[in-house]
Symmetry: C2
Subunit: 290 residues, 2 copies
């Protein structure tokens, strides 16, 4: 392959509710739950390393939004593909650490783009598994990668990588608005006792599977945030304000972020970011493919 660059886009993913399912094997670990993938996402450009050659063990350049920066799971996935020497540029308009699955998106995007650039010949399921394992092993996420690979409104019916986990989806398209008030540590929440959280997540999933509709997902998400004791004051106030204005909003897990369907946050007087449900999921983009 003579191309010098490959590019992938991976949608952001806000989790509405979840239960945590640790396992000894990262491929079998994961979460059950549901969420929404977004047309706002992460673009990953992978190019042949300049000073370091792929395969000699050295690491290529790493940038996040133009500034030098690394994401652990990205490097782990590249190592699995024998691709640590490539240069990786991660670009996103999404806030980092605020519940949009940016680390999972960057990892999956890097795996897709590096596989393409270096002609590694891995299938989609293999690349999703590699990214899922890297994310789980780093403790930065449990279910974002498999959801981002599918797109739409993914339901994680059983936890784990492709071939182990199981997915369904809500058939829906909608405008999505969101506002972020700051970061929340995924590692901290997932590293603590998740028993009560997971019980609430299982209840929410049962409700959604019995009635797979967007309003049911939003209502189950609000109940989950209360029962799992994850609500923060600014988020709770925004959810209430959207409800009072007749809309549907919920908290993005895990971030100080509220997301709403349609014009929910605008109607409640907020100045939100606006995007849509992403129908496609993670994909290589035309850039560099002619």
């Amino acid at each position: 392959m003579s191309r010098q660059r490959a590019t992938a886009f991976v949608p952001g993913h806000v989790t509405a509710f979840f239960s945590a399912h640790p396992a000894a094997r990262p491929a079998a670990a994961g979460s059950r739950g549901a969420g929404v993938t977004l047309t706002d996402g992460v673009t990953v450009r992978v190019s042949a390393g300049g000073e370091t050659e792929a395969g000699d063990g050295g690491s290529g350049a790493r940038t996040i939004d133009g500034e030098s920066g690394t994401i652990g799971a990205v490097d782990d996935a590249l190592a699995e593909l024998g691709a640590t020497g490539v240069d990786v540029a991660v670009e996103t308009d999404l806030p980092i650490g605020a519940g949009f699955g940016v680390s999972g998106a960057a990892t999956l995007g890097a795996a897709l783009a590096a596989n393409d650039l270096l002609d590694r010949g891995r299938s989609e399921n293999e690349l999703v598994r590699i990214a899922h394992e890297a994310e789980v092993a780093r403790g930065t996420g449990l279910g974002d990668v498999v959801a981002q690979a599918r797109g739409g409104v993914p339901i994680r019916v059983e936890p784990g990588a492709p071939g182990i986990g199981e997915l369904d989806g809500l058939p829906a398209t909608a405008r999505v608005e969101y506002v972020t008030f700051g970061e929340l540590s995924t590692e901290e929440v997932l590293g603590g006792d998740t028993t009560a959280l997971s019980a609430a997540g299982e209840d929410a999933l049962d409700r959604l599977r019995a009635d797979p509709r967007l309003p049911t997902m939003m209502d189950a998400a609000r109940a989950f945030a209360r029962e799992a004791d994850l609500l923060v004051p600014e988020v709770a106030a925004a959810i209430d304000a959207v409800g009072e204005a007749g809309g549907e909003a919920a908290m993005a897990m895990l971030g100080r972020t509220v997301f709403a369907l349609g014009t929910g946050l605008s109607d409640a007087g907020y100045d939100p970011e606006v995007c849509r449900i992403d129908a496609a999921g993670a994909r290589l983009t035309v850039d560099g493919q002619g």
Copy 2:
């Protein structure tokens, strides 16, 4: 729900090779194989029936490209959703009966759109199962529906509807060209002895899974068409011409159609239709959703 119309888009799907796997239960029947989903596809508009009310057993209006016409599997899927009274308009630029999975696309699109319009509350997997069962029961296809639901370059690893079958994919984006020389009856081929065909299809799938790359898929597809004795002269000539011009082409199963990657057919002097690999798969579209 007060909306009067819902719209879905479903990509066309050309099968590169396949093996047939009949079963008593339509959900468990299907095919293994691989193919390419296309940005050229089928748009299905479902609207509240005019003279007939949904649920009274009467059938609403049915059009294909603006002319009165019905597709059996579409009506069966709508019946399963209690939606026979809706009006259904199927529109496509793809040739019908030429190996693009138009009947499967129309069926899946009708299921998605009718579920949305009438708020039937079925999940994506349920709607794909309903469309797959309708298509299999009518004998008009075995694997198009599950492939069209996924998008990209789907590999049907195990046959059947979601929850029974299993999918993987080739991570690829590419320009696709195609030329059609006429129809080929899916029912006739699938209704005959498929033993030799399926043996060739299994060989092709083994090759692709050992090396999941687009050129390998195209080469396995050419070997399949020869071994299964499905090649027709115009298609064989076009495949040879593309190969002589340095490109990759294969026959679309089941149709008198040749498809090529990149500018393969143009380079060989044909005047092809041009589209791309469709990343998203079947989806509701914004029309009518605000």
